[in-house]
Assembly symmetry: C2
Homo-oligomer: 121 residues x 2
DNA sequence: TTGATAGTTAAGCATGAACTTTAGTGCCCT
DNA sequence: AGGGCACTAAAGTTCATGCTTAACTATCAA
């Protein structure tokens, strides 16, 4: 399994609407800190803190140019969360396939209660 | 854009390691509340609360059978987050493509500083 | 140099969320 | 019936974190 810490930090970062909004804005193109802050009803300092969170977990990269900082998305930053979600989805799919196979095998019982799987009660 | 509330609830739910662990366990197959609680160093009540969060945002479904509750993943539950992540990734890709095209067009300037894009400073 | 711009950092507050404890409810088994 | 099991609900506690204010640094422009 991939670095647990990284997954945790990414999901934590994405839990905040403001940080997702920043990421949405940045996925349209690079922007300075104050440009990113503009649409928000919060202090510049608060936005800076959000950016720092995004940067610490690798979702965003930035470089200081003159007195302004240009932020951009890290193109591979979302990979961890994408991988996690993808793995879950494929496992669930496999689960449903197994269930379907079992139902096709023995179409005897009540079809509305697919309790053919072990449930460890 | 898809329901903003749903996206928010899903990402919030996934921010908690315990809830991700529950989802991981459930993507292997259905399980009862106490089965889900077993590996955790926390009260059954706490786990119940986590399950309620997961259920409220549509990541998990459950049904009461006798005195136990059987939980299973909602196969389409992760779609919202998957879609959000996918959209970001495709936008970033498009962004990189545009940048590449611009660089190919005018290979004049310093190649290490791809500031050909507008940055609204 | 002076002033304004752009961001950074630290400290403190205040809300929310995770967890516990406690006290139930309903179901199953003997 | 009655004891125990599986869960639920409510209330309280504690701790994290998102936000603010305030003070500070570095850069640009006149």
């Amino acid at each position: 399994m991939l670095n647990y810490q990284a997954i945790d930090e990414c999901f934590r970062a994405l839990a905040e609407p403001a940080r997702r909004a920043i990421l949405e804005r940045l996925s349209e193109g690079p922007a300075s800190v104050s440009t990113l802050a503009a649409p928000f009803d919060m202090t510049l300092a608060a936005v800076v803190q959000h950016i720092q969170v995004l940067e610490k977990c690798g979702l965003v990269r930035s470089e200081k140019i003159g007195r302004s900082r240009v932020c951009r998305v890290n193109p591979t930053g979302l990979d961890v969360v994408s991988d996690w979600v993808g793995l879950r989805r494929s496992m669930v799919e496999r689960q449903l396939d197994r269930l379907g196979a079992l139902l096709a095998e023995q179409p005897a019982d009540d079809a509305d209660q697919p309790n053919t799987e072990r449930t460890d009660p």
